[in-house]
């Protein structure tokens, strides 16, 4: 495992929208609109959730840490906020919007020119308490990966029967999700 490294975080956060675009844009709806059953998400829902995170989670919380420290808790994140984000939009529009918002977020993050002292600053999460700016940024990167992990699992689920006896060999089909959703 590595310590948090701002350049590594920026690299990963830059690649995610491009990778999701390459994976999802040209797929038929059968892959991207299906979910894993009641109250679970489709790949399209996940992209809308990532958009909602760009608007209300990552950079807004980074700004709060820098401005208020631990004196003011973050706004709770609305885990169903993606429903509004995706209304009336195609997957292609959502992918474009995610790429644009992510690019704006990263421009702002780079402009902050964060130094080690800044990264060590603490804020207050409404549920888990004291967190550092460094932990927030590492979580942003790991959050991209948790949703790439989820998208690959959602899509593999669609072929859970079609693979026949090979299902025992495919780890992704044994994945229980680990977090809701």
């Amino acid at each position: 495992m590595m310590e948090h490294n701002l350049q590594h975080t920026l690299s990963l956060l830059t690649c995610t929208p491009v990778a999701l675009n390459a994976l999802l844009r040209d797929l038929p709806d059968a892959w991207t609109l299906q979910n894993e059953g009641e109250s679970t998400w489709s790949a399209v829902d996940v992209v809308a959730h990532l958009i909602h995170g760009e608007r209300t989670d990552w950079m807004p919380r980074a700004r709060m840490i820098l401005k208020f420290g631990e004196t003011k808790a973050f706004e709770p994140f609305d885990r169903w906020g993606h429903v509004r984000e995706s209304q009336g939009k195609s997957l292609a529009q959502l992918l474009d919007e995610f790429a644009r918002l992510r690019s704006e977020s990263l421009s702002e993050l780079r402009r902050l020119n964060l130094q080690p002292d800044d990264l060590a600053r603490r804020g207050r999460h409404p549920a888990i308490g004291a967190v550092t700016l460094s932990q927030l940024l590492a979580t942003w990167a790991a959050h991209d990966l948790t949703h790439l992990h989820q998208i690959s699992r959602i899509m593999a689920h669609q072929y859970g029967q079609a693979v026949g006896p090979w299902s025992a060999y495919l780890g992704v089909l044994q994945c229980a999700g680990h977090s809701a959703p």
Copy 2:
């Protein structure tokens, strides 16, 4: 869940190399060369494994089903064949090679112009017994997804400590792998 659909399989198999390229090519080695501990794979190992699959697994087995049916078992797949594939090669070279081999595989698959009767034909897997061509092709797609799932987990693992108390919220960090490796 959906039944196997050859066009959906082709769509997904086409997107995977582009998505892996977009995700991995520009990342620093700290993301792509690290694994999850002893005897586990890095993202680079996974790309080499996918290359080995193009050479020895998917289309070779499809040809065997069409030529021999159940009369001749597939060659066992060498799960450590990626070690040879990756020797002396950069990640960029491996990504290029995977894209080229996958493109050749899919050209051959399209040329076969498989009909429902072909897809129902059976072959013999050395360990799991009778399998259909349809199941083999569905497994090829799901196998791409199991390795995208794995890569996202391997990379998230690198930030397992860096995210601090957020680790409880990140499903990918709870994923035990489900299959070896």
